[in-house]
């Protein structure tokens, strides 16, 4: 493989990592701001306010973990591809 191609693949890998990170973060922000509405309404009803807050906490923890895992998986995947491309580059030199 030509070094120019490897360089481009490295750039593409970095760009995909940036895009996944930014996309997931943006999606998470929108998800949270939309999900907040029903909890805010239900939390105003006295008898159910406490369980609603507990459910909201569990839900945000789970979704936060899921979004975090996607970000982590993308970073690990990007790192593996990056190492592989470094190896190819070293061979091409």
């Amino acid at each position: 493989m030509e070094r120019e191609t490897i360089r481009q693949l490295r750039g593409l890998n970095d760009l995909v990592a940036d895009a996944v990170d930014a996309g997931v973060t943006r999606t998470e922000r929108i998800h949270r701001s939309i999900a907040r509405y029903p909890y805010a309404v239900l939390a105003r009803i006295g008898p159910v306010a406490a369980p609603v807050r507990a459910v909201e906490f569990v839900e945000t923890t789970i979704t936060g973990t899921v979004y975090g895992s996607v970000r982590l998986a993308a970073r690990v995947g990007g790192g593996v591809v990056s190492q592989f491309l470094e190896l190819l580059d070293a061979r091409a030199r």
């Binding site: 191609t5 490295r10 970095d14 760009l15 943006r26």
Partner: protein, 310 residues
């Protein structure tokens, strides 16, 4: 005076074109992040960067001449945009540069650059690159013809800002500048995108905000197209008065006075109202759309006539 264009030029490959499109869309971001997809401005010879020392120039161009033509592509393109249809598959004299070499004894140089960068930045890079070429050129340069397609014309206009003339000796050699489909008065599509972004972001909804944000990701180079000139501190750079300027424009319709042709121009740029010198002489090619202007037989005949005529 023949230069074969028969070897496959990597500039035509899908990945290379893809990288050029990506640079046009988000090139400023790529550069800011140090991403290796960001294109650095350089002259290209058969798709590869060209070193500008005398030995490399002689090796790349065995028949160097003292007349240079420099071709600067437009937004989201690379130098493959100049290639006539079919020429990439092996015909000789496949673009304006190689044809000028054959017919007029010019030595053609093709610029490739990151079209997502601000136009003023690309203009400064081009001015420096031309200075490097002039310094390394093994022959005394008699004349330089600059040819820019679309955004490339704005970059050339910025590079030829007379304010730089004192420090750049190559500028005195510029005999003529040919702008092809160049939006000196601004590009309507970018103005529309600017308006749409503002309207979407004015709405409080998450979806409209998101679409507005995505639209707003477009590069500084794209946004500069709306202004219609290489933005310097005083606005558009003045025309280089030691050179003659020509503006070659297309229209979608065969009749340039047809309302569709007048409103939409060549699909992206409208034909401006003709003005007196030093404004460019406007020449219209009816029925030739924006991209086709970069590789059209009638446009080439006109360029050849311009180069032979003064």
């Amino acid at each position: 005076m023949k230069e074969s264009a028969t070897r496959f030029d990597p500039a035509h490959s899908l990945p290379e074109r893809g990288v050029s499109i990506l640079n046009g869309m988000i090139g400023d971001y790529l550069q800011q992040r140090g991403n290796e997809l960001a294109i650095g401005m350089s002259f290209r010879h058969r798709g590869r960067p060209l070193a500008l020392d005398a030995a490399s120039l002689r090796a790349a161009y065995p028949a160097l001449t003292n007349k240079l033509c420099v071709l600067v592509h437009g937004f989201c393109c690379n130098e493959s945009v100049w290639t006539f249809p079919g020429a990439a598959r092996g015909r000789e004299h496949g673009n304006y540069g190689t044809r000028l070499q054959r017919d007029g004894g010019y030595t053609p140089f093709y610029v490739r650059y990151n079209t997502g960068l601000p136009i003023a930045e690309s203009a400064a890079h081009l001015a420096a690159l031309l200075a490097e070429l002039a310094a390394g050129y093994p022959l005394p340069i008699a004349e330089i013809t600059l040819i820019g397609h679309s955004m490339g014309g704005l970059v050339i206009r910025g590079a030829c800002d007379p304010a730089r003339a004192g420090t750049l000796s190559w500028m005195a050699r510029v005999r003529r500048v040919i702008y092809i489909g160049t939006p000196h008065d601004g590009a309507d599509l970018e103005r529309f995108a600017h308006g749409a972004t503002g309207a979407l972001k004015a709405f409080p909804g998450h979806v409209t905000q998101l679409i507005g944000d995505i639209l707003n990701l477009r590069s500084r180079g794209t946004k500069d197209l709306g202004a219609g000139h290489a933005p310097s501190t005083e606005g558009a750079a003045p025309w280089l008065d030691s050179a003659r300027h020509y503006l070659l424009m297309g229209t979608l319709t065969k009749d340039p006075k047809h309302p569709v042709g007048r409103i939409f121009g060549d699909a992206l740029v409208r034909v401006p109202v003709a003005k007196e010198a030093p404004e460019p002489e406007v020449i219209v090619f009816p029925g030739v759309h924006h991209l086709a202007l970069a590789h059209d037989a009638a446009v080439y005949r006109c360029i050849r006539q311009i180069c032979a005529g003064d």
